[in-house]
């Protein structure tokens, strides 16, 4: 069942075991204040007392004077949505403003829904393996606020708490970390791995205290200082700062003579204490036994063993351990440890400096994932990235740049020219607006096995050229391909040049005809195909039968909203697809109940069957079938909502 809720946090899967599909949205809160006028201000206090305005307080106790609430104003970016870009159905902009449907429960196009749910995409033939999996922390969903990204909330109990399957709209209010930083941008990361079906989000409400902008600079400085190292921090918080006014020379003398000791002692205070403790312990132990303390430590280990040990460390720990000693530094900077780099979990820390440091170390870089880096805050410069690719890109085989915002035309050009060994290129959600990118150099890539252009606008000619040039292509994702790309042409090219194709995603791409479907039957290796909302033809004729006859290895067949399907087509599916594991028939009307039973009986390996918005079936049918055939069947009835 799909749900509509005020906020939710469950859509992106990151685990050490599974592959992941990450989706999130960055939401900007601007300006929608609710009736609060700031009148008197206290200079040290961040509270503002207002005179008018009634507040609806989220936590139900009265903070009427200085608490404000804001609904999201605009969406800055998102990695995944169910609907097509300019639509207002199931798309990201629906999350702004007040909730339109909450607290009603149901499947409403006025909400925001993400493209995927549950673990089904991880079980499909097109699943991805995470690059440098040790970087991925156990925390699968987090909320951040912007500028210096601070984590407000993490779902630590994701894997331990029971799966919550309500049949009603919910309001999710996580306890946020209290921060003193003013914010108007928030990033929500959803992990949908445990979701039963599409979950829809109606609105996001941010509530907090109004902030006095006079204190803004002071606060930002404070946070900047926090980010710097601890010594600098200590220095700035020092009580022994010399007051350098008129007599500064005398003062300095005075400081050096008297206060310097204290200054140093504070710094080394902790160290002395711990040393003392250690000495005490050693005294104790040497007083008791004659213990033979082994003199062999980490630094006596062979280099290769150290490398092996370090290969399990995540990037952050690797940098930290390199700061310990010269030997450990040499081990931790060895290029073999940097052949795979995943900066996605560090999206909020990724910066130009990091990139240049990594460039020095990663001399044999094979796999790079920089998804989500550089979002909104311009921390990565395109020039630096371009340099990085020029230096290290020629050995790259896997490159993921999903939802990155720093790519420009020359970056893409460089990619095309330098990275000719690329086997996997993922450029999901890479359409800036206005679309300035010129992808034509990508036509130089000839070894691609995986190409992911989900939600990315690409020119038709370039796409066709790329298809021609990459005969080894196995996985192709063209979901949300722009209107300009004719899917029939694409199908023709695939049929001619990409016969090794295993998975093809055409979700909401612009219209494949029955003829296009027919030519795709040339790709006998197809195991996964998604024609959702794409096959608009009123009648498919024999094309589906032909297709299914030739593509016997099909495991995943998604036909959402393919309204031209008839009973006969479903008969073909039942008879010609013995290996079918996932089948989506959402929104296909006019099919008789016997066809569904037929499929359930004949497709023995079926795990997922989506029958939402289908007719001729009742809830008890679905429950019975689900139990009998051990298949996860989705079905939902929508309330008629247009009156």
């Amino acid at each position: 069942m799909s749900q509509s809720s005020a906020t939710n946090s469950e859509d992106d899967s990151k685990t050490a075991n599974n592959e992941s599909v990450a989706v999130d949205s960055v939401i900007d809160f601007k300006g929608k204040h609710f009736g609060l006028e700031s009148t008197s201000q206290d200079s040290d206090d961040y509270l503002v007392s207002g005179s008018e305005g009634t507040m609806i307080d989220v936590e139900r106790f009265c903070h009427a004077d200085y608490r404000i609430e804001q609904y999201a104003h605009s969406v800055l970016d998102f990695s995944s949505q169910y609907g097509i870009d300019l639509s207002i159905s199931y798309t990201a902009p629906n999350i702004t403003g007040r909730p339109s449907k909450y607290p009603e429960y149901g499947d409403f196009p006025q909400t925001f829904a993400m493209r995927t749910y549950g673990a089904w995409w991880d079980r499909a033939p097109s699943r991805l393996k995470e690059i440098q999996p040790q970087n991925v922390s156990e925390i699968p969903a987090e909320d951040f606020i912007a500028k210096t990204w601070i984590c407000l909330w993490e779902d630590k109990e994701f894997y331990t708490k029971p799966i919550y399957s309500p049949s009603r709209a919910r309001r999710f209010t996580p306890p946020l970390k209290r921060i003193q930083l003013p914010t108007k941008t928030i990033r929500l990361e959803f992990n949908h791995q445990r979701l039963h079906y599409y979950t829809e989000i109606d609105a996001v409400l941010l509530s907090g205290k109004k902030f006095n902008t006079r204190n803004m600079q002071h606060l930002l400085d404070y946070y900047e200082r926090q980010r710097k190292g601890s010594i600098l921090c200590k220095l700035q918080n020092m009580k022994f700062r010399p007051i350098c006014r008129d007599n500064y020379q005398n003062r300095l003398q005075h400081f050096l003579m008297h206060d310097l000791d204290k200054f140093i002692s504070v710094l080394s205070d902790v160290q002395i204490q711990s040393m003392q403790r250690q000495q005490q312990q050693q005294l104790q132990s040497s007083n008791t036994d004659e213990m033979k303390i082994s003199k062999i430590g980490l630094k006596n280990m062979p280099f290769e063993i150290m490398l092996k040990i370090f290969s399990y460390l995540d990037l952050k720990s690797l940098f930290r351990v390199g700061a310990v000693s010269r030997f450990l530094y040499d081990v931790s900077t060895h290029p073999l440890l940097y052949s795979e780099l995943n900066l996605k979990p560090y999206w909020h820390l990724a910066s130009t400096e990091l990139l240049s440091t990594l460039a020095k170390r990663a001399t044999i870089l094979k796999k790079l994932d920089m998804s989500w880096c550089g979002c909104t805050v311009q921390t990565i410069s395109p020039t630096e990235f371009k340099k990085f690719i020029q230096q290290r890109g020629d050995s790259l085989t896997h490159l993921r740049l999903n939802s990155t915002k720093f790519l420009n035309a020359s970056c893409i050009d460089t990619l095309g020219i330098v990275c000719d060994n690329l086997k996997e290129l993922s450029l999901r959600n890479c359409s800036p607006s206005p679309p300035l990118l010129n992808f034509s150099c990508l036509a130089n890539l000839k070894n691609l096995e995986r190409l992911d252009l989900f939600q990315t606008v690409i020119e038709s000619d370039l796409l066709l050229t790329m298809l021609e040039n990459n005969p080894k292509l196995k996985h192709l994702n063209l979901a949300f391909c722009s209107v300009a790309v004719n899917m029939d042409d694409v199908a023709q090219h695939i049929a001619k040049y990409n016969k090794q194709l295993i998975s093809l995603d055409m979700w909401k791409a612009h219209f494949l005809s029955a003829q296009g479907l027919l030519v795709l039957s040339n790709c006998h290796n197809l195991e996964e195909i998604d024609f959702g909302w794409c096959l608009r033809e009123a009648s498919l004729g024999d094309s589906l039968r032909e297709f299914l006859t030739q593509c016997t290895k099909l495991k995943k067949l998604f036909l959402a909203a393919v309204r031209g399907l008839t009973d006969r087509d479903l008969e073909y599916i039942a008879n010609l697809c013995p290996n079918l594991e996932q089948l989506d028939l959402m929104g296909v009307l006019g099919i008789s109940k016997e066809r569904y039973i037929d499929i359930l009986q004949k497709c023995a390996k079926l795990q997922l069957l989506d029958l939402c918005f289908c007719d001729n079936i009742m809830d008890y049918d679905v429950a019975l079938w689900s139990r009998t055939f051990k298949v996860d069947i989705k079905s939902c009835q929508v309330p008629n909502d247009f009156r």
């Binding site: 207002i88 009123a538 929508v638 008629n640 247009f642």
Partner: protein
């Protein structure tokens, strides 16, 4: 701008204020013939109107091109999980306060009329393929594409004209224009020129609707519909029973 409405089963009308920069009025008339296919004719027009309302609040709403509203609304139909089938005429008016101009988009035989100082200054044209077959936006069930009329939103008539304070704007479905002769309409609209009292306007709208209704059931009356029919060599008399929707507004700048 005050707008008043009276809706019936297959029609939808809405009046929209948006940040007080512009106002919008729209009507849609669902084609009743779909009942025989088991399709509720009102669903399509309802959806069209509700979507127009949502689109008006969107960032890229261009008040000078109400035809875009129709086009985008129509596209949204294709994005619904549960297919919404049927067809409908539509008429959208947007008043831009900044330049006191009204922009219109009309597809089909619903229409509008603007009255100033006792005269009709602007009127929409009925768009028909042939007699009693208006232009219509439609989404037929799969397989019926060929025998269903489906006009593109681009074929809408677009007009824009300036308005003055006190102008009366009437937006109505064909149930009104087919049954009430123009002179009668004019007489009624003349009386509310410059009126800003919502109660009076509502009363006038009510009486207009009521009048259209009673005339539609009068079998001897030579309604505009009957006159038109005769021009097309069809022997018809009396009114044409139909769904009636009236939206009445006066301009108060």
């Amino acid at each position: 701008m005050y707008g008043l409405t009276k809706g019936t089963a297959e029609e939808e009308e809405e009046e929209e204020k948006n940040d007080l920069m512009y106002h919008e009025i729209r009507v849609a008339d669902g084609v009743g013939g779909w009942r025989s296919y088991g399709i509720d004719p009102g669903e399509f027009s309802s959806f069209l109107m509700k979507t127009c309302e949502r689109l008006v609040h969107c960032v890229n709403f261009n008040p000078q091109r109400p035809v875009n509203l129709l086009a985008y609304s129509y596209c949204e139909l294709l994005e619904q999980k549960k297919p919404i089938l049927g067809s409908s005429t539509a008429c959208v008016l947007v008043l831009n306060r900044e330049n006191s101009t009204v922009y219109t988009a009309n597809i089909g035989d619903s229409g509008f009329m603007v009255v100033r100082r006792g005269e009709i200054v602007h009127k929409s044209e009925e768009q028909q393929h042939y007699f009693n077959t208006p232009f219509q936006l439609s989404l037929p069930p799969p397989g019926h594409d060929h025998n269903v009329l489906s006009d593109s939103p681009d074929s809408a008539d677009t007009l824009s004209f300036p308005v003055k304070d006190g102008d009366v704007i009437l937006v109505a479905t064909d149930g009104v224009f087919d049954n009430v002769p123009e002179k009668l309409l004019l007489d009624m609209l003349k009386e509310v020129e410059g009126v800003t009292d919502p109660v009076k306007l509502q009363m006038t709208a009510n009486s207009l609707a009521l009048m259209a209704r009673s005339l539609s059931f009068d079998s001897d009356f030579m309604s505009p519909f009957a006159i038109n029919a005769r021009r097309n060599n069809i022997n018809a008399t009396g009114g044409k029973p139909d769904d009636i929707t009236v939206v009445l507004a006066t301009v108060a700048i």
